[in-house]
């Protein structure tokens, strides 16, 4: 295994040297002009995207930050500036604290489980030449194409306490003691949501990891096999370090999905209930901003979500930084 980062230096020089001398000088003379022409063209091409980005991303985000300093119902022309009051209220709002805890719990549980299982399945599918692995991949990927509302409906049926798939199976296996009110028990409901999230995203991450693993040269495995490395050893010494970059990228995805996906799922499946025990940050923000007429307060929660996901992504990215390995 070698660690190369850039293409061999001088490779471009070599080609220009072999080229005819007048040709190279002509190219040298024309290059700046074309670059200037390019800049204008590139800018013109980028402009629509930049404008859209500014109008639909930057401005609204700034608005969120600005509104979080006001008390505003969302309709009236009157906004009252209250400084950091909204943020101060957040600190003694038990519901907010619980929503925050739930979001963090979902983030940790879903990330660990999805990533672990995704890696495991991807490794098995790429390395073990499993029969019918295309079918498995297809089946595991399907949930990712489904709308979250459909997933919520599916899981409502799965978790149904009387005729649900889960309790029905337990009854069939005479494990009646393990039956639960999956969406009604306040201690379990969050994990029920977490499981649905894992089910939804597992296939996606598995395919991502598989793509990374497929590009690892076979020789590395052959060589290590000759040296007597077991499959587990190969996984930790070869596979994992070589797909480290894709792993890092997916970690950021996990942060985003824990914040966004959980909202849609919770809203469609439990509505934050029973009694707020499955409330997550975004659903609480939605409730405050749109049904409790405290738009400014909702935006303050939005700012916290922004800062939180930004910070976590940054920390994760810092903590997992390694020298990129290449093969």
């Amino acid at each position: 295994m070698t660690t190369l980062s850039t293409p061999p230096p001088g490779s471009t020089n070599r080609t220009s040297k072999t080229a005819p001398s007048d040709g190279s000088s002509r190219r040298g003379a024309r290059a700046p002009a074309r670059r200037r022409g390019n800049t204008g063209f590139v800018l013109a091409c980028l402009l629509p995207a930049l404008v859209l980005f500014a109008v639909f991303m930057v401005v609204p985000t700034m608005n969120v930050f600005r509104t979080s300093f006001y008390t505003w119902s969302g309709f009236s022309p009157e906004k009252r500036f209250v400084g950091l009051d909204n943020f101060r209220h957040l600190l003694d709002d038990d519901q907010f604290v619980r929503a925050f805890q739930n979001t963090v719990a979902l983030l940790v549980v879903v990330t660990v489980v999805t990533m672990g299982m995704g890696l495991f399945l991807a490794a098995i599918m790429t390395r073990q030449r499993l029969r019918g692995r295309n079918l498995y991949r297809f089946v595991l990927y399907i949930p990712n194409v489904l709308s979250v509302v459909v997933i919520a409906a599916i899981f409502s049926a799965v978790y149904d306490q009387n005729n649900g798939l889960l309790n029905g199976t337990l009854r069939l296996l005479s494990l009646d003691g393990l039956q639960q009110v999956w969406l009604g028990n306040q201690k379990i409901v969050l994990y029920s949501v977490a499981f649905a999230m894992v089910w939804q995203s597992l296939g996606y991450y598995m395919v991502l990891y598989m793509a990374g693993m497929a590009s690892i040269p076979e020789e590395l495995y052959e060589a290590s096999a000759l040296d007597g490395a077991s499959h587990t050893r190969q996984f930790f010494a070869i596979t994992l370090p070589l797909i480290w970059q894709s792993l890092r990228t997916t970690l950021t995805f996990f942060v985003m999905s824990a914040v966004n996906l959980s909202f849609v799922l919770v809203r469609a499946m439990t509505g934050g209930g029973p009694n707020g025990s499955s409330e997550v940050l975004l659903s609480y923000m939605y409730k405050q901003a749109y049904t409790n007429s405290s738009y400014g307060y909702g935006m303050a929660i939005g700012v916290v979500i922004f800062a939180f996901s930004f910070l976590v992504s940054l920390l994760v990215s810092r903590a997992t930084r390694r020298e990129p390995l290449q093969f």
Binding site: P48, L52, T71, S73, G74, F75, S76, N86, H89, L90, D93, Q95, F96, A152, A153, S156, D160, Q161, N162, V181, W182, L183, G184, N185, Q186, A268, M269, T270, G271, G273, P274, N275, G276, S277, K287, Q288, Y290, T291, N292, S293, S294, Y297
Partner: protein, 440 residues
């Protein structure tokens, strides 16, 4: 090939942008006034509105009524309202999840409709105020700030209470309990036969239960005190008694209740009544239409009863849900809007509405009803039963405080044992205090 792809992409993007920018322009060049009406498509359907509007347009040729109607009307009109384009008339009650009406009340963004009460109904000789049932105007539901100014016109009213299967009671020879003692005795009796006494679709439906209970326990003044956040009202003996009764009742709840008490599954709780797997649930007259296609036990018959009395012979209240029509103060055609609202109370309109079971609070209309509805509305004729209208008073919004959620949703935790009655009481007290301070 590649270039053509790029080109296609660019064209599609450009078209998308253009489509996004080209919002429909106004087309009111014909000299007609365009009256924009937005209505919630509730259990009554949309036909009745189109018919009423057709009649109205026939008698008012200079007005063009544009109807926007939807099951989630809030989602459709809110974006435009934020952009300053307000509908002229909105038919939408309080107590909806999106709380649009409540928000506008808190904002003081509604037009004063007191003059409409004195206006003559178009084409008739009586005023709107004279046509309305007595007592339907002047409560917190129509005069949300507790003054004598009416901002919300009561459109349709429906009694809510405890819904049960009349057929089952006949088969078993049970009588519908008239006091809470009888209620709990029945609960024990039914339990032996494997039927739980109580369930609710979602905790939010407890509004039909709680408001009436508060008035049953402490009288109308106490109810008003609770709704206007009187100091320490939740620490009073009456409040405690109401919570005592509720906690005891929740102890009789069907085990499935909490697990199904969400937007996705609440009909399964309603189904418990149809299947004789629970005796009572708080609900309203719309349940008949809502569950019309659901399978049911043999001999099933819808019944509705007020809450049992606290003491024998005591006064009982029926929480009455009232949908309202209102005019945003930012509306363009306010005068036309007021005239249109007055028309909604005309005999012609009332007849069309009543055909769709939308019963307006107009004197004498309840006598014309048939079927289940006749029985439901007959409850008001019992001299010991009174209608109870209204809800929590509006205050300036308070961050993180939602007293309805504290009052209703906590029931889930009481059933599952995650909280205690004492904690519930103190949480209610906290929320009430914060709201009172905001109202002052």
């Amino acid at each position: 090939m590649r270039r053509s792809l790029v080109l296609t992409g660019a064209v599609v993007t450009a078209l998308g942008l253009l489509a996004g920018c080209s919002a429909g322009g106004d087309s009111s060049d014909s000299g007609k006034t365009t009256l924009k009406v937005a209505a919630l498509e509730g259990g009554y359907g949309r036909d009745m509105y189109t018919q009423v509007i057709k009649q109205y347009e026939a008698s008012h040729p200079d007005i063009d009524v544009q109807l926007q109607i939807s099951k989630s009307i809030e989602d459709e009109i809110t974006p435009n309202m934020k952009a300053g384009k307000y509908p002229d008339v909105v038919v939408l009650g309080q107590g909806r999840k999106a709380a649009l009406t409540e928000t506008l009340i808190k904002d003081k963004a509604l037009e004063d409709l007191t003059p409409v009460l004195k206006e003559k109904v178009p084409g008739e000789n009586t005023t709107v105020g004279d046509k309305l049932t007595k007592g339907i105007v002047g409560n917190l539901n129509t005069n949300p700030y507790g003054t004598d100014k009416t901002y919300l016109m009561p459109m349709y009213y429906a009694p809510t209470g405890l819904v049960y299967n009349k057929g089952l009671f006949e088969q078993k020879g049970w009588t519908v309990p008239a006091t809470w003692d009888e209620m709990f005795a029945l609960g024990d009796k039914a339990k032996k036969q494997g039927i739980p006494l109580f369930t609710y679709p979602t905790a939010g439906y407890l509004d039909s239960f709680f408001f009436a209970l508060l008035a049953d326990v402490g009288g109308e003044q106490f109810y008003k005190d609770v709704m206007t956040y009187k100091k320490d009202v939740w620490k009073s003996a009456d409040a405690r008694k109401a919570l005592d009764i509720t906690t005891k009742l929740l102890g009789y709840a069907a085990p499935a209740t909490v697990g199904y008490a969400n937007e996705q599954d609440f009909t399964k709780n309603q189904q418990l009544i149809l299947d004789n797997k629970a005796l009572f649930m708080p609900n309203g007259t719309w349940i008949v239409g809502e569950m019309a296609d659901a399978p049911r036990a043999k001999g099933f018959q819808w019944g509705l009863t007020p809450l049992p009395a606290v003491t024998a012979g005591g006064k009982r209240y029926l929480t009455t849900s009232v949908e309202s029509a209102w005019v945003p103060s930012a509306a363009q055609n306010k005068d036309a809007a007021k005239d249109f609202i007055a028309y909604l109370y005309s005999d012609k309109a009332a007849k069309i509405f009543a055909k769709s079971n939308a019963i307006q609070p107009i004197e004498g209309i309840a006598d014309t009803l048939t079927g289940e509805n006749a029985e439901f509305y007959k409850l008001y004729e019992d001299p010991s039963v009174s209608a109870l209208v209204g809800g929590f008073a509006s205050t300036a919004p308070v961050q993180g405080v939602d007293i309805k959620a504290t009052l209703f949703d906590t029931a889930n935790s009481v059933i599952s044992g995650d909280t205690t009655e004492a904690k519930w009481q103190s949480a209610l007290n906290d929320a009430s205090e914060k709201l009172r301070e905001a109202g002052d």
